[in-house]
């Protein structure tokens, strides 16, 4: 019984560690000061991938925490990136049961569509609140690289971590004991 309650916690911790690794890859100075270079949003890729395969390991508190950390460390508008990540992953959580039976390409298309919608929405919000914003083109460039990075993250998760959709019905259910 104790093992059952302990294991999901451990898996959540593993998920957080991998997501943070993605975040630090984004800000590590591989080529410091290169201007115009766009880094893919690896954090979003990891969260999306995980929330589709193991919805119960990624509760909304974790997503919010990761999103906010990314906002603060990357210098993005605080709260906005976290909100976008939260809404996108909650939408995907609802689609987990549907996407499980489809080919990976469909999952990819859904992720790209979500990222595009979120980028445009964020740009709109920044524009409406007169916040300093980089051009929409540059934000879309980030979205594009993120979209390209998603299959890479997926291959890593599938073969290095062995994460795949569970066949059993109850694993995909979003309700679990560790609620946000």
């Amino acid at each position: 019984m104790e093992e059952l309650t302990f294991k999901p916690l451990l898996r959540s911790v593993l998920m957080i560690l991998i997501a943070l690794t993605g975040l630090f890859l984004m800000i590590s100075p591989v080529r410091p000061g290169v201007i115009g270079g766009v880094a893919p949003d690896l954090l979003a890729c990891v969260v999306f991938f995980w929330v589709l395969r193991r919805p119960s390991h990624v509760n909304i508190g974790i997503i919010f925490g990761l999103g906010l950390t990314a906002d603060l460390l990357l210098g993005r508008p605080t709260g906005l990136g976290a909100l976008a990540l939260l809404l996108m992953s909650e939408f995907l959580r609802g689609q987990s049961a549907t996407l499980r039976d489809l080919h990976f390409v469909f999952e990819w298309v859904v992720v790209i569509a979500l990222l595009l919608a979120a980028t445009v929405a964020q740009h709109l919000v920044l524009w409406l609140t007169f916040a300093p914003t980089p051009g929409l083109v540059e934000q879309l460039a980030v979205t594009l690289t993120t979209a390209l990075a998603y299959p890479v993250v997926a291959v890593f998760g599938r073969y290095a971590l062995g994460l795949r959709y569970s066949k059993r019905r109850f694993m995909a259910s979003p309700h679990d004991e560790d609620l946000g």
């Binding site: 800000i27 080529r31 906010l68 460390l73 210098g75 508008p77 906005l80 809404l87 980089p134």
Partner: protein, 297 residues
């Protein structure tokens, strides 16, 4: 397993928590819009806590980059040699010119009895992380308030200005680069003495705005900080004027952002300004109404 009512309860709780988090996000965003400095403090506190632990990641990454660059240069070593020879020849000419200018400068200074401002002191730090992404062109360095870094201080590589400090933690500080969309630096263009503002736009070459007479500028003119606003010290090299394809004035930055590894943060105190009237010339200005001023003096 959970009964249907328990399931519904869980579902409702989840939705309530999600709603609360959404409201929290919006509140944070509003806070960021209204009270930016406080959020910046939070940002620095987080970076201060987190990033020094990742000191060891920055070094291997930088080394890998350097190895790759060295390898590239091996491939075209012959061309590079030729190029270097040519540059060396040019530099000899410049060195001669510089020596002569220095001597002339010294003579003129002696004639004028100019007081040169105190030498700037600086602290050197290493770049820990850079924030990739279009929202912020900035870097985190591994020196902070403990090392005497002050908010607003100028940051340079060996040659030119790279930006200014915006946010200081105990052991880290954030440098906002000249290319950031929020960066505005008052400058003076040298031969003509025209003043302007260098504003970043996420491109490698920031724009040069608010020039009174742009037609008097030549591409290649040197751009230095003017020290207006008393935030950055005057006379730091920023770059050279270039004109882009659309005819806009831009800057080729003197600092080499591609090989940014060590950063100097200057310690600068704004010069005192003279604000009140001298007490020797006019002893008590309010005591003397204008019509009763002695006229014979």
């Amino acid at each position: 397993m959970a009964t249907p009512t328990e399931k519904e309860l869980l579902q409702t709780t989840r939705q309530v928590v999600l709603g609360l988090l959404v409201v929290l996000c919006i509140a944070l965003f509003v806070l960021w819009r209204i009270d930016n400095p406080r959020v910046e403090q939070l940002r620095m506190a987080l970076a201060d806590r987190f990033l020094p632990a990742f000191d060891w990641t920055s070094r291997p990454a930088a080394t890998a980059t350097r190895i790759a660059q060295d390898f590239e240069s091996y491939i075209r070593v012959y061309e590079e040699n030729e190029e270097l020879r040519r540059e060396l020849q040019e530099m000899r000419g410049w060195r001669e010119a510089a020596l002569q200018l220095e001597q002339r400068n010294a003579r003129l200074r002696a004639l004028n009895n100019v007081r040169v401002s105190d030498r700037l002191t600086f602290v050197t730090g290493e770049v820990l992380t850079d924030t990739g992404g279009p929202f912020s062109q900035s870097g985190l360095i591994n020196i902070g308030a403990e090392n005497g870094v002050q908010d607003g201080a100028a940051a340079m590589d060996g040659l030119g200005l790279i930006g200014r400090v915006s946010g200081v933690g105990q052991r880290t500080a954030r440098i906002i680069y000249l290319t950031d969309i929020n960066s505005r630096v008052p400058v003076v263009v040298l031969p003509s003495g025209l003043r302007g503002i260098v504003s970043g736009d996420n491109s490698p070459n920031p724009t040069l705005d608010f020039i009174e007479a742009p037609e008097r500028l030549q591409p290649g003119d040197r751009v230095m900080t003017s020290g207006d606003g008393a935030v950055l010290p005057p006379d730091l090299l920023v770059g050279a004027v270039v004109r882009d394809a659309e005819g806009r004035l831009r800057l080729r930055l003197a600092a080499d952002y591609e090989r940014l590894e060590f950063v100097r943060v200057l310690d600068f105190e704004a010069p005192e300004t003279v604000e009140d009237v001298g007490s020797l010339v006019l002893p008590e200005p309010p005591a003397l109404p204008p019509e009763r001023l002695p006229e014979g003096n």
